[in-house]
């Protein structure tokens, strides 16, 4: 789960990380009022998840009320299109108006999970304000890291190493940086982050240390224990179909192709997409119905797949373990009755209760259903049907 920049700033502020004064607004009038309050030079930033805001004109520096008004009106009237949004773009519902500070140096600091070492790692770099992946690729030595003990968190000496790597030798600045590090690590642990990033952290000409932009991702498996995050959740930034699938305990991701997939198990679902591609087709989605699939869940899965108008054929691939093949067969028959199949549905079933399932499908005699002997046969058949 992600949150907006203004929400990340709230969490950081509460953890003692200094950020410039700011207001969140929902229309141009509020934007002007916010400017009256803050004054001076401000930056107006659209609150959307996608990156590339600056290039798209959705981050603007303003000096006057009139400029703020123009910028806000533009951002509310237009959809933002960047290399991260797709051509249809996204709508900004909120803007952040923040004091624009003079910058002497920009830094990067982040806490992220290191899967290989099975612990969080704090990363800092003097090359702030650019994508960390870029720094990692071009100048990996510019990134300093400290791995956190799984039970002990950030230790004092580790913070000192990181601050030294940032080159902050002035006593007051080092102290301020330590506060930022501790605050960021606290947010990471307190809210079960997958990523907590401040980029850039800046030093102003008068030596002040401030967090200018922040990005946070949270562990989806931990959101249940954070009511605060549940309140911050913004469904409008999510894919509607993916949310609908989630409500039915289905894991669904829309893709570009025209062959729908209905599979049990995440690994097998990915493998099914791969084998479709291998045989010259293009998968339209990832869909894992899970281990304990019910008839209702499977019918909903069909509804979701078939609601995508570009789908020209469906591959059902079930290896029955805990999920039983006859349950899927019943769901197929019920879905054919309730929704009606207008496109070919290739079915490959194996595993628990497969004989019973095959009998059921034979009795039902649904013309659009095409049986497959094995996985290769299934992929070949569905690819041939949509070709």
């Amino acid at each position: 789960m992600k949150i907006h920049e203004y929400q990340a700033r709230q969490l950081l502020t509460e953890a003692g990380v200094p950020v410039p004064e700011s207001e969140v607004v929902e229309n141009a009038t509020q934007a002007v009022d916010a400017y009256k309050k803050i004054g001076g030079k401000v930056v107006v930033k659209a609150q959307v998840f996608a990156g590339g805001r600056g290039k798209a004109g959705f981050v603007k520096l303003c000096d006057t009320e009139a400029e703020v008004k123009t910028a806000a009106e533009f951002m509310f009237a237009n959809r933002m299109v960047s290399n991260q949004t797709g051509p249809e773009g996204i709508e900004a519902k909120k803007l952040l108006i923040a004091t624009a500070v003079d910058i002497e140096s920009e830094y990067y600091i982040a806490v992220v999970l290191d899967r290989g070492r099975r612990c969080p790692v704090v990363m800092v770099s003097r090359e702030g304000g650019v994508e960390i992946e870029e720094v990692a690729a071009n100048n990996p030595n510019a990134i300093a890291k400290q791995w956190l003990h799984p039970h002990l968190g950030l230790q004092g000496f580790q913070a000192a190493e990181l601050i030294s790597a940032l080159g902050l030798t002035d006593k007051a600045q080092a102290k301020a940086a330590r506060k930022v590090l501790n605050g960021l690590v606290k947010v990471f642990y307190d809210y079960d982050c997958a990523l907590a990033e401040i980029n850039p952290l800046v030093r102003t000409p008068d030596g002040e240390i401030l967090a200018i932009d922040a990005k946070m991702n949270f562990d989806d498996s931990a959101v249940f224990r954070h009511p605060r995050l549940q309140e911050m959740f913004d469904p409008s930034e999510e894919n509607a179909m993916e949310l609908r699938a989630k409500e039915h305990n289905l894991s669904y991701i829309a893709l570009e192709g025209n062959i729908g997939c209905l599979v049990n198990g995440a690994g097998l679902a990915m493998a099914t997409m791969d084998i479709i591609k291998l045989h010259g087709g293009e998968p339209a989605n990832f869909l894992d119905v899970g281990g304990s699939v019910t008839k209702e869940g499977a019918i909903e899965a069909f509804r979701i797949i078939l609601s995508d108008g570009t789908v020209k054929g469906v591959l059902v691939n079930i290896f029955g373990g805990i999920a039983k093949c006859d349950t899927i067969a019943e769901a197929l028959i019920a879905a054919a009755k309730e929704i009606g199949f207008k496109i070919p549905v290739v079915v490959r079933l194996e595993g628990t209760n497969v004989d019973r399932a095959r009998e059921l499908l034979k009795e039902a005699a649904i013309p659009q259903l095409i049986g497959a002997a094995d996985l290769t046969d299934a992929a070949e058949k569905v690819c041939a049907k949509v070709a």
């Binding site: 999970l113 899967r115 290989g116 099975r118 612990c119 969080p120 960390i132 992946e133 990692a136 003990h149 799984p150 039970h151 642990y189 079960d192 997958a194 562990d219 989806d220 498996s221 931990a222 249940f224 224990r225 894991s251 991701i253 893709l255 599979v263 049990n264 198990g265 995440a266 690994g267 097998l268 679902a269 990915m270 493998a271 099914t272 997409m273 791969d274 084998i275 479709i276 591609k277 291998l278 998968p283 990832f286 894992d288 281990g291 290896f319 029955g320 373990g321 805990i322 194996e350 595993g351 628990t352 094995d374 996985l375 290769t376 992929a379």
Partner: protein, 295 residues
């Protein structure tokens, strides 16, 4: 031989009175696993629906039954705690089936179990099976083939559940046995990983070949490739799921995500091929490729 578990392994189930715990304890018993009890706090002193004794704590269960393996079906919020409780009670091996355990809980639990000298498998995994001897998990037992009658045997290590069944099925259909099949699970931070298990299968007399099933996310397959190059002489056939997965999207499993250019199928496949592993293009040819190497 087999790795990690066999017909003498004594197992308790943590969460034995829950729906999944009760059902799968029954399935494991039916397969022949020595399930000797269960733990559900507050229900100590009663019997489960399988007539197994229930204990309030792992400590009590271990004292009374001598079990040294625990199968955990505890809900996500309490799963890491349950694994640590098992370790504190002196369990040798904890098998965590639960899906959706918070990652930072797993970070803590894994370190705790490491320090206690307890092995962990999972979470978010189907468990482990030594065909014909014991099944400690949720996989369908009947697709597996025991080592007997001079059949060649493969060891299987996999991040995916149903894709493992697929590989088992393909091997069984071609007349191969499985020494042991281990589902290591789809979470980003987990217990036993490819390298530890590759080492065990390499050393296991009964294992003739190894099937390894990976997927996008992380760099465990790359690390495994390096290990195989230097240490594994038995034939290894691999499949990596997720070539067609878009970056930045979590593909069902919490750990199956390409992020910041890391974790792509291409990188894993290239590393494994370089280490001499046969990586199949199709998930349907795992058994076929293994057959060529065991002929």
């Amino acid at each position: 031989m087999s790795i990690l578990v066999d017909k003498n392994t004594k197992v308790i189930c943590q969460g034995i009175t829950g729906k999944a715990g009760a059902f799968h304890t029954g399935q494991c018993l039916e397969y022949g696993t020595k399930m000797v009890g269960g733990v559900t706090p507050g229900k100590g002193g009663t019997k489960s629906e399988h007539d197994l004794p229930i204990f309030d704590s792992c400590r009590a269960a271990v004292e009374a039954t001598g079990a040294d393996v625990s199968l955990v079906f505890v809900p996500p919020a309490f799963a890491a705690d349950a694994a640590m409780e098992a370790a504190a009670a002196g369990m040798r091996f904890v098998i965590l089936i639960t899906e959706g355990v918070p990652t930072l809980d797993m970070v803590k639990a894994r370190k705790y179990l490491d320090d206690a000298g307890t092995l962990l498998l999972g979470g978010n995994c189907p468990g482990i099976i030594t065909p014909g001897q014991c099944k400690i998990g949720i996989m369908p037992g009947y697709i597996h083939t025991p080592c007997e009658g001079g059949r060649k045997a493969v060891g299987i290590i996999s991040r995916s559940g149903t894709l493992t069944y697929e590989a088992v099925w393909q091997c069984s259909s071609r007349g191969f046995a499985q020494s042991t099949c281990v589902g290591i699970g789809g979470d980003p931070v987990k217990g036993l990983n490819f390298i530890e298990l590759l080492k065990m299968f390499q050393e296991d007399d009964e294992t003739d070949g190894i099937v390894m099933i990976g997927e996008i996310g992380g760099t465990d397959e790359e690390a495994a490739a390096e290990f195989i190059r230097d240490n594994v002489t038995k034939p290894v056939v691999a499949f990596i799921a997720g070539r067609t997965a878009p970056p930045g999207k979590r593909m069902g499993h919490a750990g199956a995500i390409i992020s910041g250019g890391e974790g792509t199928a291409e990188s894993k496949i290239a590393a494994l091929r370089e280490a001499g592993v046969k990586v199949t293009e199709s998930p349907a040819t795992i058994g076929e490729e293994m057959a060529k190497r065991l002929a």
